[in-house]
């Protein structure tokens, strides 16, 4: 692999997380090495308790690893003081949550604008940008709707628009399709895929849903806090030069599936 030439936005090495409660110790994550590249949709998969969400929280600088080093956008965040982490999150990372976590008292546009307000953008500009982002996720007509008046899929798209508000290079999503029917879920996963492939963002998504596997560029399987397997999606795999060398019919397959 030509990893050196790739745009790594996150590099984790030897990441471990230990939760202690009294004498009890739970190793949620054990010596995980992970690199996340821009332009890719990375899926984190695994059974409940395998450490997916813990890993996502560490990658998002929300949780600190007990051991290991983490580099985000070229900065070693494991060495940074706690007070610096909100700025890293604000400037570099957008979050999409399973339960949407929209502010019920704000309209869709205001929810998005709030993320800009956090970044010190003036109200007028934030509102305008909020409406633009909603248009990008296909919800321009819902800008003035409150979350209670939106469907699950629409709520998640508002959440994605909010996550994009600061134009972050990294997008972390925690089971964004889990609360949605497949039609809505598909819209959301396609949107995330587009944000990775077309807009060059690094998107990391925790999921249980096998239906979304075909959308991921990399699929990382976790079990008991360890990475047990990593796969490339078919579409990405056949783009690799090594694949084409070994499988001469690959260009035809690629044409067939319209890559």
């Amino acid at each position: 692999m030509d990893g050196g030439k790739r745009d790594y936005v996150i590099r984790g090495k030897g990441l471990s997380k230990v939760y202690r409660e009294g004498a009890t110790e739970l190793r949620a994550l054990q010596e995980v090495d992970l690199e996340v590249r821009a332009g890719e949709l990375t899926l984190l998969m695994g059974p409940s308790g395998s450490g997916k969400t813990t890993l996502l929280s560490i990658l998002g600088c929300i949780l600190r690893a007990s051991e290991g080093t983490l580099e985000v956008l070229g900065r070693d965040v494991s060495a940074l003081p706690e007070s610096e982490l909100p700025r890293i999150r604000r400037e570099g990372i957008g979050f999409v949550f399973q339960g949407f976590n929209l502010f019920p008292t704000l309209t869709a546009a205001e929810n998005v604008a709030l993320a800009l307000d956090l970044r010190g953008i003036r109200a007028g500009e934030a509102k305008k940008r909020g409406e633009e982002l909603l248009a990008e996720v296909g919800l321009a007509q819902k800008a003035r709707s409150f979350p209670a008046d939106l469907s699950g899929g629409q709520k998640q798209r508002v959440a994605i628009a909010r996550a994009l508000a600061g134009d972050p290079p990294i997008l972390l999503a925690d089971e964004p399709t889990a609360a949605l029917d497949w039609t809505s879920g598909r819209t959301v996963i396609e949107l995330l895929q587009r944000l990775a492939r077309v807009h060059g963002r690094a998107v990391v998504m925790v999921t249980h849903d096998p239906r979304v596997l075909s959308f991921g560029d990399r699929i990382i399987h976790l079990e008991d806090g360890r990475i047990v397997r990593e796969e490339k999606s078919v579409t990405r795999a056949i783009e690799e030069p090594s694949f084409l060398e070994v499988h001469p019919v690959a260009p035809a397959i690629a044409q067939e599936i319209s890559i």
Partner: protein, 376 residues
């Protein structure tokens, strides 16, 4: 940020109404308790504060207004002959017995003064006039005591200490701190009504006005040097002594003050609970904000802005409610006072209470683990 603070507060109208009710209840409770304390305090020294005198000459050892003790009127002439005295008047305060037209007898406090002298006169006369007291056997009472004294109208006749008396007018808002209402009469009549043991040639107080260019303090020193067996106080001193006696020497004021402080504590607790509950309702949203990169400073500002909005709106509503209660109290036995300084003080208190309550919540909010947003 401002938008989030306002929306969190106003979006759920029922929740907002509950929050506002809590704050209004707390503020009104505090206003009533402190207003009562202020009303009681002011009531105890009302006659002194409205006397228009610079100095009060009182029997030696008399510590407060309601226990005036008579002394020889020779002192009055000594006062009059003291250089620097512009005016001096004899002034009476003594307890008497009021026999209502229906035969019931009540205790009263008779206040005797010289109508037209400008010293020690009743104020807020709403029916009749001070000059009407120059008529034979006439008295003025406060309208708040009409019912308890059995008086229906001007001209009603009663007996005071076996002497005939006729009501010639009414004042408004002159209450007695004791259970005995004030009854105003001429100095001469007041002696008849109260039959002082020291005889007719005596007075309970001498009210003194300093001559132009003479300071009351200077005159006070002169009178002290000249008069034996009496104390000479400035009006402010005697007023303070009287208020202090009723408020702190007796248990009365302490009870009212304790109630006022309890009102404050209960009020603060209600506001703290209300604001805390309102914050906890949105705790998950604050967790989301933290996950999104909000600094603690950002969260402080949201919470404090919410607290200030709550305080200002709660204060506005509380002032409207308090206004009606204060008005209603004017017709009752216990007056609730709310001077403008207290109104401003209540605004400051409301903001301080709400912000302090928000600070309790802030501690909770800033300790939120942002990882909570990933938990279901």
């Amino acid at each position: 940020m401002g938008l989030l603070a306002r929306r969190n507060l106003f979006h759920d109208r029922v929740r907002f109404a509950v929050t506002l009710t809590g704050i209004v209840f707390a503020l009104v409770l505090i206003i009533i308790q402190f207003g009562l304390f202020l009303g009681f305090t002011t009531t105890t020294s009302n006659n002194i504060d409205h006397s228009n005198a610079d100095l009060w000459v009182v029997f030696h050892g008399v510590g407060y207004f309601d226990t005036g003790r008579n002394f020889s009127e020779r002192k009055f002439y000594q006062v009059l002959s003291t250089p620097g005295v512009g005016q001096a008047e004899k002034y009476m305060q003594a307890f008497g017995r009021w026999k209502r037209p229906d035969g019931r007898v009540d205790n009263i406090q008779v206040i005797g003064f010289h109508p037209g002298s400008g010293l020690g006169e009743p104020w807020n006369v709403v029916q009749g006039s001070v000059a009407d007291l120059k008529q034979e056997d006439s008295v003025l009472i406060d309208e708040v005591y009409r019912e308890s004294l059995g008086v229906k109208k001007i001209g009603d006749k009663v007996e005071i200490g076996d002497h005939r008396a006729r009501v010639v007018g009414f004042t408004r808002g002159i209450r007695s701190f004791t259970t005995s209402p004030f009854v105003y009469a001429t100095f001469k009549n007041s002696l008849d009504y109260t039959n002082p043991a020291s005889g007719e040639n005596s007075t309970a107080y001498i009210l003194v006005k300093a001559a132009a260019g003479v300071s009351p303090r200077e005159l006070q020193e002169r009178l002290r040097a000249r008069l034996a067996d009496v104390d000479v106080y400035t009006t402010a001193e005697f007023s303070r002594k009287t208020r202090f006696y009723w408020m702190f020497t007796t248990g009365a004021g302490l009870a009212v003050l304790t109630a006022a402080l309890m009102g404050l504590i209960v009020g603060v607790a209600v506001v703290a609970q209300t604001i805390y509950a309102a914050t906890m309702d949105h705790i998950r949203e604050y967790g989301t904000l933290k996950a999104m990169g909000a600094t603690n400073r950002y969260l402080y500002r949201v919470l404090i802005e919410q607290a200030v909005w709550s305080a200002v709106l709660g204060y506005g509503a509380a002032m409207i409610v308090a206004h009606f209660i204060v008005q209603a109290s004017e017709k009752g036995g216990a007056v609730i006072l709310m001077p403008w300084s207290m109104s401003i003080g209540m605004l400051v208190l409301a903001v301080v209470m709400c912000v302090a309550a928000a600070l309790v919540s802030i501690n909770k909010v800033t300790r939120i683990d942002p990882a909570m947003v990933f938990r279901g």
